[in-house]
Structures are given as structure tokens and as C-alpha cells.
Amino acid sequence: MADQLLNVSALSAGTEDKPILHGVDLAVGAGECHVLMGPNGAGKSTLGHVIMGDPAYAVTGGSITFDGADVTELTSDKRSLAGIFLSYQAPVEVPGVPLYSFLRTICQMRPELKTTARKFRQRVGEIADQLELDQSFLMRELNVGFSGGEKKKIEMLQLLLLQPKLAILDETDSGLDVDALGIVSRGIQAYREQVGGALIVITHNTRILERLSVDRTHVMVHGHMVAEGDASLIADIDANGFERFERALGERDEACVDCPGCPKAGDAE
């Protein structure tokens, strides 16, 4: 494995009233591409949001180390500045803030990306062209009134602008037509080639992976990390689904049902 960039160790987390993740382990090396798969409600998106530091979730056990530092207690904005990026499955609408102002501000927050307005406009224009994004969108309010595909392209625009060390793509392919999927895939490929950053791709659809060289594949079921393998595991899941993983987890849980105070109690939703 390359130098370790992210290490999630025995991570348990959930919302105020419901545990979702149960002792999850995940290690990602610098520049690696990992795929996270699992049935609906497995906790994949939750894991992405917890790594990002989303305050909607509380960590109840374990730790997250990023780039050599323990970030478990860090706020989301500091994790972002440290180099973690989460592409939202459903990007949030922010009325009142033009997309251009937002992009300019998030770049100005990072000393390494600070530049003149002229160079910034040029850079944004190049990426927008690459993503076949109409530049008039830059004057519109952030994510307001955009189609699902346009929102995902804007997420890719931010990914390419911010050049993070680790990008978590939470079902970036969902809701995209074939053409938009191709454009977004090329955006992800450009991120890998230009930035060399690590990726965690959360997906149900293997088409988005066609242009990527996958290093590791992980499978989550009911908030547990149940399997890990190389890229061949994707084809296996494509052919056989998640049933065997769910069955194996069920048998494992039955075996420890008598264990009092079991941390595996409760399922992801």
C-alpha cells in the first residue's frame, strides 16, 4: 500500500437516537482509488459524511486519522481545509449566494489556491468548459434551480478547483443520463491525473468505474464493513448481488446474540 492517507479505525457513529456505523475499519493510501459498495441503507453515505465531519452524526467510538493527524474531533471546515472533500449525493441549495462568489471564497480560504480574480476566472472557465457547463451558470445562485445533472457537474467543478488529497464521491452517478455520466467520469479521471488524489467512490453503478483503475473494493451491510477485496469483487457483486454478505452478517449476529451490550445492535437505515 502507498503511504497511508486515511485510517478509519473501529469507528462507531450515528444520529442522536440511532447507531448506524458499528466498528468500521477502512484504510486508504495516498493516491489510491477505493470503491465502497453495499445495499441501500448499508451506511455508506453515513460513513462518507462522518469522515467529512458532518455535525448531523456523532462519533461514539473509534478514530479517524488523516494525513498523519487524528481528525476525529476536528470540525468539518477544518477537515476540508486539511484536504478532505465530500461530493454530496444531493447538493444543498444556497439561495442568495452566486456560484461564482462561492467558488471564489472557498478558493481564497486555501493559501495554496489564492490567486488574482483574472486568473481565477480563467481557471474556472477552463474547468467549466471541460465539464460542458454553461458559464452563465456561474452567475446563478448556488445549486438553486439546477437539474440533478448540473448539480453533480458543479460538485465536480469544485473537486477540480479545490484539488483535495482525498475525495469521497457519494453516489455522484445517481440521476445522471448517459452523456452526463460520461462528462462526470471524465472529470473524475481528470482529478486523478491532474491532482493524483485518493478516491472513495460510493456507488451502485459500475459504469462510473469504467474509466478508473480501482485499487480496493469494500462492502458494507447494515453499518458493518463485511468484505474487502480487489477490483474483481465489483464484477462479482454485479453478478451475484449482496445477498451472501447479508446472510453472512446475519449468521454472525445470531452467533453473538447472547452477548450483553453488543455494539452491533441496531441497523443502518
Binding site: 471546515d77 454530496y88 442568495g96 461564482y100 471564497t105 472557498i106 480560504m109 486555501r110
Partner: protein, 372 residues
């Protein structure tokens, strides 16, 4: 805050204008939102000879009301009349610049003939202050009016005319600006208004649009920012008289600290305005614990076959928005500053002329290197 200018007996050289920005349909008096009273300077004009607008403009209703119209007419050094000939597309904008520090008052009438096209810009800045005169007046009489600028703009858009109005308002911190606009739109005329109220001691803004001709269309976008103890008082009325007329009014703004804002918007669907449609919506972002925000959206209706909608959203930045912005590296403070900056950046990006850009730069938190 309108109240801070209330004066039972205005000082020498000052005048109390009552029932300014009065909403056409009144609500409970105890809400103190029906109108505002402003104290303004009253300079003697006896013996002056000055130009007045053609009498045709006297029939144009203005948003701040007749008292302000009369006061501006009495105080403006001269009235300015511009006529855009039939079918002409005027490239140069008509610019009205006033500075609160210099106490400037402008009275402008624009006649846009059939099928003509024009852009009008009102730029109200802090400008140079006559420090000696200001200081003397205030020291001698605490009831004296604050430094005041004003612009009265009346526009008649004939059939098929296209009019775009940009208003950039930012008087000095201790000053006030009165902005009264009256528009009459003929058949198939189209009027678009963009207003930026960017702060200053007190900004009182009124607009009345009379969609007299069939299929006339009126679109208004207002963005505002007020912080500290700044006051913004707005009254906007659209009279929809013609058939198939359309009006869209969109307001959004940010209020910080102990800023005070009153917004009265009225869409009046007059008898006979068959198939007319009007919408008004406001989004207010409240970022201060001591902010006072009053919104009075009204639809008046005296016709069956019409549609009118209004709504207002008032609140702070939502937890979902904060979480999303944090995932891009913005703390709560950064996120709130982004909302404020966005108002100024939008104003700067939309500014149609150097005078408008100067107003934005005069009181904006934007970096001077931003345009580099």
C-alpha cells in the same frame, strides 16, 4: 429605523415629512409598519428660477408618496427631462448621481417613446461631506435633519418601450437617502428594475409602477444589506390595470447586528385587469440577535380572472446549508460573511456603469484586489 428620525417639531431648517412610504392597504397601527416619518432639510428657495418637468409627469404616482414628491421638487436645484425618441435604442445609460454628504437632490423625468429602449441608473453615494456646515448644524440643533440626498425619478414608457432601471444606494453612515420612483407602462411595454440597497444610515425607498397598458410587464429584483444600526424602509406598489399584465417582484437580503428593515409590497389587481398575474417573494437572512425585520406583503384584488401570489421566508442559515458550506472549508462565521459579501459581489457584477461600481466599492467588504 424610521423612529429615530421622528420629530414633533423639527429644528430650524428641517422639515418632518409624515406618512412617507405609506402602504395602500393599512394594517394595525400598533405594528408601526404602515408608513414612516422622516426629517429632512428644508432650504429656502425663494427667488430661485428653475426648470420643472412637463405637467404630464404630475400624474405619475411615486412610491414614497406626494409629500416626498413635493419636497424633492422644492429642493432640487433643477429638474432634468430626457426624452428617448420613438424606436430609438439609446446605448448610453441615463445616469442620476447624488451624494448624501453634499446634500444633493435630483428630480428626473424620462419619457420613453413608443418602441424605444433605455437604461437608467441612479447612484446614491456617501460623497463628500461639507464637514463644517454639518457640524455646525448638528451642534446648534440636535433636531436638525441628517445629511440627506434624494432622487425622484419618474418614467413614462409608451407602448412597446423597454426600460431597465438600476438603483445603487449607499449613503453615508450618519446620512439618509430618499429614493422615490414612479413608472407608467403602456401597452406591451417592459420595465425591469434592479435595486441594490447596500447600507448607510437610513435608506428610504419607494416605487410605484402603473401597468396601464395591456400585456405590460414589470420585473423587480431587490437585494439589500443592512448592518449596525442601519435602517432600510421600502414601499413598492404595482397597479395592474391592463389586461394580461405581468409583475414579478423578488427581494432578498441580509440583516446583521441591530439593523432595522421594513418592506411593504403591494400588487393591486385593479378591476378590469383580466388575466393579470403578479407574484412577490422575499427571502430574508437574519444574522444578528437585535435585528428588526418587518414585512408586509399585500395582494389587493378587484377582478375575478387574475392570479396573485406572495410569500416571505425569514430565517438564519439552515444547519444543512452550514454543513454543506463547512464541507467546503467555511466555518459558520465564514459562511455568514459569504452571504453578506454575495450581495456586494452581485451588485458589482451587475453594475452597468462606473458610477454604480463606485457606490458598491465605497462601502463594500470586497477586497480592492478583487478586480485585478
Amino acid at each position: 429605523m424610521a423612529e429615530k428620525n421622528l420629530t414633533a417639531a423639527a429644528g430650524a431648517g428641517a422639515l418632518a415629512l409624515e406618512r412617507v412610504n405609506a402602504a395602500p392597504a393599512q394594517t394595525w397601527n400598533r405594528l408601526r409598519t404602515n408608513d414612516v416619518t422622516l426629517t429632512v432639510p428644508a432650504r429656502g428657495r425663494a427667488g430661485d428660477v428653475y426648470f420643472s418637468l412637463p405637467r404630464l409627469f404630475e400624474g405619475v404616482e411615486c412610491g414614497m408618496g406626494p409629500e416626498v414628491t413635493a419636497w424633492v421638487e422644492s429642493q432640487a436645484a433643477d429638474a432634468r427631462y430626457v426624452e428617448v425618441p420613438r424606436g430609438e435604442r439609446r446605448a448610453e445609460p441615463i445616469v442620476v448621481s447624488v451624494a448624501s454628504g453634499a446634500g444633493e437632490v435630483a428630480d428626473t423625468g424620462v419619457m420613453v417613446r413608443e418602441g424605444a429602449e433605455v437604461t437608467i441608473v441612479v447612484a446614491a453615494s456617501a460623497g463628500e461631506k461639507d464637514a463644517e456646515a454639518e457640524g455646525d448644524a448638528t451642534a446648534a440643533d440636535p433636531a436638525a435633519a441628517p445629511a440627506t440626498s434624494a432622487s425622484l425619478l419618474r418614467v413614462i414608457a409608451e407602448a412597446g418601450a423597454r426600460v431597465t432601471i438600476h438603483e445603487y444606494l449607499c449613503p453615508g453612515a450618519d446620512a439618509q437617502h430618499l429614493e422615490s420612483v414612479g413608472i407608467r407602462a403602456g401597452r406591451d411595454a417592459r420595465v425591469e428594475v434592479r435595486q441594490y440597497a447596500l447600507g448607510g444610515g437610513t435608506v428610504a425607498l419607494g416605487l410605484a409602477a402603473d401597468l396601464a397598458g395591456d400585456r405590460a410587464r414589470f420585473d423587480l429584483t431587490q437585494r439589500y444589506h443592512a448592518a449596525g444600526t442601519e435602517v432600510l424602509d421600502v414601499n413598492e406598489v404595482v397597479r395592474m390595470r391592463g389586461r394580461n399584465t405581468r409583475s414579478e417582484l423578488a427581494y432578498s437580503g441580509v440583516l446583521e447586528d441591530a439593523a432595522k428593515k421594513s418592506l411593504r409590497t403591494t400588487i393591486d389587481l385593479v378591476h378590469g385587469a383580466r388575466s393579470a398575474q403578479g407574484n412577490e417573494a422575499e427571502t430574508v437572512l437574519v444574522l444578528g440577535d437585535d435585528v428588526t425585520n418587518k414585512t408586509l406583503p399585500v395582494i389587493l384584488c378587484d377582478e375575478d380572472d387574475v392570479a396573485g401570489n406572495h410569500g416571505a421566508t425569514i430565517g438564519s442559515v439552515s444547519p444543512e446549508q452550514l454543513a454543506f458550506l463547512a464541507s467546503r472549508g467555511l466555518s459558520r462565521a465564514d459562511a455568514e460573511e459569504l452571504f453578506s459579501r454575495a450581495v456586494f459581489e452581485d451588485a458589482l457584477m451587475s453594475a452597468p456603469c462606473p458610477e454604480a461600481r463606485a457606490v458598491v466599492r465605497g462601502d463594500s467588504p470586497l477586497e480592492s484586489s478583487e478586480e485585478a
